[in-house]
Every structure is written in C-alpha cells, then in structure tokens.
C-alpha cells in the first residue's frame, strides 16, 4: 500500500467532491423549499456552462462578465421552469413533478444539441495553471482551484441562508409552509426564488465542471452522481449534501484509481443501494413518519 498515493487520490476525490457538494446544494435548495426532486440538475449545470461558453469563447467577453451572464441566464431559466412547468403542478403527486423534470432534462439536452451541436467543447482557460502541492501530494490545479471556488460559494450561500431576508423566508417555507404563509411570507415567490437561486448555483458549478472536463451535451451525467449524493446525504439536508458530496467524491476517486475508471459509477450506485438499505432517509435527512 502506497500511502502517499492513497493520500493524493483521496485529496483529488475530496476536491472533486466539493463540486458535487455545490451541485447538491443547488438540488437541496429546490427540494427543501418546493419538495420537487429536480432530476434535471445536471442539465441545468450544462446550460450554465454553455451560456458561459457562448459569452466567453464566441463573443470573447471577459471571463467575469461571461460568468455573470451565465449565472443570470441560468437563474432566469430556473424562473421560467418554475413558472411554466412546476407551478401548474402544485399539489399533484410528487411522481408527476419528478417526471416533469425528467422531461425537462430531455428538452434541455435537445436544445443544447440544436444550438451548440453535440460536439465536445473546451471552455477558455481561466483557472490558474500552477500545480498545487499539499505536502508531497500533487493536486491538479483546475480541480484544486475549482473546488476552492465551490467551497467559497457554498459558504456564501450558507451565509445568505442564515442572514438574508430571502434566505430566512426560504428556510421558514421549508420548515412549515402553512406557518410561513401566516407570517406573511409570499410562498409562491419563495418557490420562484428557490429555483432562481438553484439555477445560479448550478451555473457556477457547471462552469467549474466544464473548465475541468470540457463541456458536451452528455454533461448531464454529472447530475446522476449529484442525485446519488443528495440521496446519500438525505434529500432535505444541506449538511447531508455537503458531507455526501465529499464522501461520494472520495469513493469515486478511490474506485477510479484502484479498480478502474469503469468502476466509478458502479461504486457510487452500489454505495447508494447500501445507504438506502441501512438508512432509507439518508445520512441526515428527515425521517418522515407516516400516518393514516
């Protein structure tokens, strides 16, 4: 057993897990506020990355402006999705809403292929290129800076949740919709807000993921791992999403390094089944009590 190698792999895994955590945060945000399982989260990431690509590479805007455009664009997309697809289904069985997001994923993939074609693209370089050494372990610079960016954004979002009025409204709606209504919170607007915020976070995650691995119309597969992350962490738990993200990132990196690249998805999904069997509501999700 080569401990240095193991350390290096684990480090890469945890750093990659930071991205999972960020994307999972975008997912949990929507789930907490609106109880919608958004399976199209990977595709929203993809849209963010492609908008960034358009502005940064095709229109040659400065990186920060392109990123801003991507964040705003994907946020607007989130609002549109909420108004046209999710709002009309309020009160419908969760399965219907789930399937709507499945349909949405398909629409987004199709649109990306129509607008940008199905070819793989590379985002312009914007992350620093100097290798990162932690002790003796080497960490790919893109992964390292990407995950730092992700962690910074996660911290920012958590602070917003804690202190900003909208964030408090969001938490109030999540914990008790009826009570939130009575306190004068405009719940439908909170739903919109959750989707917009989720879209914005997804855009950042998408840009970073795209910067590391390139973008293509099959980028949405990333969303499947995110789905595993949130299930493992517990659908409605922010803490679960963060821990789950790092955990799944670690598992994937270890499986990829010691078993082979084709074992990555297998390992995550086996992990998912194991967690579902032992703790069906995830590591720190709410254990729902059913009554007749």
């Amino acid at each position: 057993m080569d401990w240095a190698y193991l350390f290096e792999i684990s480090l890469t895994g945890v750093a990659g897990g930071g991205l999972y955590a960020l994307a999972a945060l975008a997912f949990v945000l929507v789930y907490k506020a609106t109880r919608v399982v958004n399976i199209a989260i990977g595709e929203m990431l993809m849209i963010g990355a492609y908008i960034f690509f358009s502005f940064a590479a095709t229109f040659a805007l400065p990186i920060w402006l392109a990123a801003l455009a991507a964040v705003l664009g994907t946020g607007a997309l989130g609002a549109v999705i909420e108004r046209t697809m999710i709002r009309p289904l309020l009160g419908q069985p969760p399965i219907s809403v789930f399937m709507v997001t499945v349909g949405l994923a398909s629409i987004l993939i199709g649109l990306v292929e129509i607008i940008w074609t199905a070819d793989q693209r590379r985002l312009p370089e914007f992350l620093p290129n100097t290798p990162v050494m932690i002790g003796d372990a080497f960490l790919a610079p893109k992964v390292a800076y990407g995950s730092l960016l992700a962690l910074a954004l996660i911290a920012l979002v958590l602070l917003l949740f804690r202190f900003w009025r909208g964030g408090v409204a969001l938490r109030a709606t999540a914990s008790d919709q009826g009570a939130a209504y009575m306190m004068g919170i405009n719940v439908p607007r909170v739903f919109s807000l959750a989707w917009v915020a989720s879209g914005m976070i997804a855009a950042v995650a998408g840009i970073v993921v795209g910067a590391i691995g390139g973008i293509s119309s099959s980028m949405g597969v990333f969303g499947l791992s995110v789905l595993v992350v949130v299930i493992v962490g517990g659908l409605d738990s922010v803490l679960g999403a963060l821990v789950g993200g790092l955990f799944i990132g670690l598992i994937e990196a270890l499986a990829g390094a010691f078993l082979g690249a084709e074992y990555k998805l297998l390992a995550t999904f086996v992990m998912l089944v194991v967690v579902l069997m032992i703790r069906p509501y995830g590591l720190s999700g709410t254990h729902e009590i059913e009554r007749l």
Binding site: V37, M85, P88, L89, Q92, P94, I95, S96, F98, M99, V100, V102, G103, L104, A105, S106, I107, L108, I109, G110, L111, V112, E113, I114, T117, A118, L224, L227, V228, I231, L235, E262, Y263, L265, L266, F269, V270, L272, V273, L276, M277, P280, E290, L292
Partner: protein
Amino acid sequence: MRIGTLKESYTADAALFDSTTQKTWLCAGAALLVLLPFVASDYWLYLACLVAINVASATGLNILTGYTGLVSLGQAAFMGLGAYTVAILQMRVGTPFLVNIFAGGAVAMLGGVIVGIPSLRVKGLYLAIATIAASFITHFLFANSKFTGGTTGLSLPPATLFGLPLDTSFRLYWVIVPIMLLMVLGAANLFRTRVGRAFIAIRDRDISAEVLGIPLLRYKLLSFGLSSFYAGVAGGLWAYFFRVVTPESFPLLMSIFFLAAIIVGGMGSILGGILGAVFMTLVPELLKLVFDILPGGTEMTVLLSPVRMVVFGMLIVGFLVFEPHGLAEVWRRVRRFFHLWPFRN
C-alpha cells in the same frame, strides 16, 4: 358508463368486455392486426413489431407503476436481462424459441424481485432512484462479463419455430404480436383478481392496504416480479427482433421512454399503456417523415435527433401539465362525445 348496458349479475359487472360495441371494436381491431402484414410494407411491419414489443414492456411497467404505484426506472435493465438470457440460451445452449423467451422472462423476474427488495423500506422517489442504480449495475455486468461478450455484445442467429427461421419482419410479426396480445390480456385480467386488486389497494394507500391484511412485502415483490417478467419477455422478443444485444441497447433513456409512454398513455389503465407505447414509438418516426419532406438536405438531418429529444421532453411535460390522465382520458372523452352524438355535444 355506456347507455343501455344493464348489468344483472356480478359476473356481468366484472366481465372484461362488457358491451357489444366494445366487442365489435375489438373484433375489428383483431381483423386489422391479421390483415396488416399482408398490406403493409416492410418498413411499417418493422414498426409494427417494434410497437408490439414496446407495448408488452409498457404494459409490464404499468402493472408496477400505474397499478401498484411503485415508480421504476429499471424497465430497460430488466429488458436487458431478458434479452441477454435469450441470446445466451440461443447461442450457447440452443434451446427452442419459446423456452428461451420464457427463461428470459424468468431471469428478468428474478432480477426484478431483487431490485424490489428495497421497496419495503423506501418508496416514491427514493425507490425510483434505487432502480436507476439497478440499471447502472446491470449495464456494468453486461459490459464487463465475459459471458455476455463485453462491450461488443452478442449477435444471435434467427430463431426457428416449427422449422421456419424467423428472419423477416413478416414472420416475426406472427410471433411477436400474439405474444404481446396474450400478455396484455393477462394484465387486463390480472386486475379482476385478488392479486390485482391488492396491487390497486397498495397504490391508493399502502399503509391502509397493510391494515386490511395485504402483506406489503410479498405483494410489492410480486408486482416487481410480474412487471419485470413482462420486461424480460419483451426484451427476449427484442433480442430476436434486432438479433444484436449490446450493453448500450438498454440505456437509462429507454427506461425513461417506458415511464413516459405510460404517463402519456395514462397510468393505471391497460388501454393507456397500449396507446402510450404506440404513440411514443411512432412520434419519432413521424418526425423523421416530416424531416424527409422538409427541404434542407443533410443539414436538417443533423437536427433530427436533438429535435426528437426536445419533442420527447415536451410530450412528457405537456401531458403532465395539460392532460395528466393521458391519452386514455382523451379517448374516453371522444367516446363520450359520440355516445350522445347527434343529440348532445
């Protein structure tokens, strides 16, 4: 409720086909199915076989999702299990056609029961995502096992039935369509029995069903088993129809396709499963026809597959938002209109 069908006994009330009008339509439909292979071109026969396979699988998923209320995104994986079983039996063992098909169903059933085990602890969306895991795990097994021919997959010789090789769409039609009809009839009958009614009770409120004395684990597993048996048989037919089975033949998208088919058709209705599968199989082909007519040549054909994706997604979203009970409900409305037609509309 149709006018003029007075029911005087419980048997009449529980009958599968309750009115002369319905029976007439069914006879007409059967006649059409018999005549079709003699008039249709090869392309339409190919489509008819594909539709029949999809109807069989969608009906299976309808038993599980539409009637028992357990959402599954593993239908394609179970079809894959059936298809691989059939392919391996045909190539390595050489057992007869019907035995292979049945074995395919049985193996898929076993897979379904295993995947169904978490269904007692988790339900709803958690379960749906657990079945996604099943589809990845089977894909991995297909792609990495020596027995299944790895990523290149298996290509099998045409089946023979009564000494005739089943190598054209015309010949396969006469095997696939009757099997499909038998399966659909079986499913329709299932919901007149104790087991089927237990499934419906579980869908409506599983805890209440348990209080009423329905053993949840057994019935949920039974539902998984039946549904994947259907998928396995459909997968077996699929293997004989395309004669090449690769791990990529049964992607997650295919499971989504079947779920979409029963949503578009109407969940919890046999007719819905049929209509949905027919509709969802034919829409991409119609799009292809439209694209052939449109000017633009090769530039347009590049757009075909993304447009199909968009239309596929729009159909799911559109039906859920505007017509949540699906095509079966549309059909019911049309029927109701004609019941009273010229007198009231």
